[in-house]
């Protein structure tokens, strides 16, 4: 989807807020949002969550605090999964008998975090179409729904520099279909991506799935 989230190469966002002091959470509400993400992730795939965040109203995507965007995303995910209704969130009134939630201690959440490392790779059941050093073209057009080929890297020529086996294909994962495809790191010369804004010796590397790529043909 050509959504507001696809920032790469856009201009006009001004200077990077470099000098702002680091804090993981600006206030308790940021931390609360993080805790909700950690405690209330249920049966949706990760890329469905990413896509629901991409679907935030653009003005909110740009203006709201980072963690508020996730909290709003979790409202939608929890409604989609049938665990809450919009009416309950809006009214603050919960229907039905309450469940008994876990009351986790710090060591328990640290261990829960550790075991939540998610792997997305799987043994390949087909041969890769590309090898290291191959020249490829990226898909010419965007597509509806969730995808991980940024607009700035569409219809560009690049070089395969690594092959990572097969990983869950996010475009399908967002639709709740778990299929795997070959994942490569593709290097692009910045001059091919950004024309005169690119400088020699500047490469941009993206991890891209095989369906985004076609052979570049004979012209190097």
């Amino acid at each position: 989807m050509d959504g507001i989230h696809d920032f790469g190469g856009k201009q006009g966002f001004g200077k990077v807020p470099v000098g702002r002091d680091y804090t993981p959470f600006h206030d308790r509400v940021d931390g609360l949002s993080l805790a909700i993400m950690m405690e209330c992730t249920f049966d949706w795939p990760l890329d469905r969550a990413r896509h629901v965040k991409e679907l935030l109203p653009p003005i909110n995507y740009l203006a709201d605090p980072y963690f508020t965007g996730w909290a709003m995303t979790y409202m939608v995910l929890l409604i989609e999964s049938g665990r809450l209704t919009a009416e309950e969130i809006i009214s603050g009134q919960a229907s039905g008998d309450p469940a008994t939630p876990a009351r986790r201690t710090l060591p328990e959440v640290m261990e829960r975090n550790r075991i939540s490392a998610e792997r997305f790779d799987a043994p390949a059941n087909n041969t890769p179409a590309f090898g290291i050093g191959d020249r490829i073209n990226t898909a010419e057009h965007g597509k509806p729904g969730h995808t991980r080929l940024p607009a700035y890297a569409r219809a560009k020529r690049g070089t395969i520099v690594a092959h990572h086996g097969t990983h869950v294909f996010p475009d399908e994962m967002a639709l709740r279909r778990r299929v795997h495809d070959h994942l490569y790191t593709v290097a692009f010369d910045a001059r091919d991506l950004f024309g005169p804004d690119g400088t020699p010796g500047h490469e941009v590397l993206l991890d891209l799935w095989q369906p985004y790529l076609t052979p570049a043909g004979e012209h190097p």
């Binding site: 190469g9 201009q11 966002f13 990077v16 990413r50 896509h51 935030l56 997305f120 996010p170 490469e203």
Partner: protein
């Protein structure tokens, strides 16, 4: 339920509905969700506090810095970290959310690496903690792929003209960590003292590790 057809996703309507009927103030919207989750018994106040403590004070860049310092002093460890970071990370117990697939890229006098996620804010949480504001900012996400030298200069890092610049856009589930260069003048330092020099930004590639300040 969501429509999975490509033309329209019901989540977009749900967002509008919620944003229309909940308070405009972002904090009040999050608290509305907290209220109903507590009342439904889907979360406890104790677990909320534990998660905040975990990510405020426990899971942070000291983990990544420990790996960097060990790589600086132990060539075998460095070789394993570069080839199979996932195994190394599991051995030290630093795997976790946003840390299932770790790749380490090495800065050298000839090559400088910098990490971004232009599509969201992917970041190796399990090694560096919650990303800083600048990493999540629209300015960084949009600009660092296109004009990295100008962005790095805003961090005070002016790169030599002839250095190879590699900007990694984390578009998949691989989470990148920069292995910075060990600063000159640190030959006598212990691993722990070296780790104390390594900053969060250096492991994203927006700074170099500075040598310890000269005394006296």
């Amino acid at each position: 339920m969501p429509h999975d057809d490509h033309d329209h996703d019901h989540a977009r309507d749900l967002h509008d509905h919620l944003h229309t009927h909940l308070p405009e103030e972002p904090a009040l919207r999050v608290k509305a969700l907290e209220t109903v989750l507590l009342r439904k018994g889907l979360i406890s106040a104790q677990s909320i506090d534990a998660w905040i403590e975990a990510y405020a004070n426990q899971i942070g860049p000291r983990r990544g810095a420990e790996l960097v310092a060990r790589a600086w002093v132990d060539p075998d460890f460095k070789a394993r970290l570069m080839q199979d970071a996932d195994t190394v990370v599991r051995e030290v117990g630093y795997e976790g959310v946003e840390g299932g697939h770790i790749r380490v890229v090495e800065n050298t006098p000839a090559v400088h690496n910098v990490i971004v996620c232009t599509l969201c804010s992917c970041y190796p949480w399990s090694l560096l903690g919650i990303p800083p504001d600048w990493y999540k900012s629209a300015a960084y996400r949009s600009r660092v792929v296109r004009e990295p030298r100008a962005v790095l200069a805003e961090f005070g890092l002016v790169l030599e003209e002839d250095i190879q610049l590699r900007v990694w856009d984390a578009t998949a589930e691989l989470r990148y960590l920069v292995l910075p260069e060990r600063p000159a003048g640190t030959e006598g330092l212990s691993e722990a003292a070296l780790a104390a020099l390594v900053t969060r930004n250096a492991m994203v590639g927006t700074e170099r590790v500075a040598a310890p300040a000269m005394r006296g």
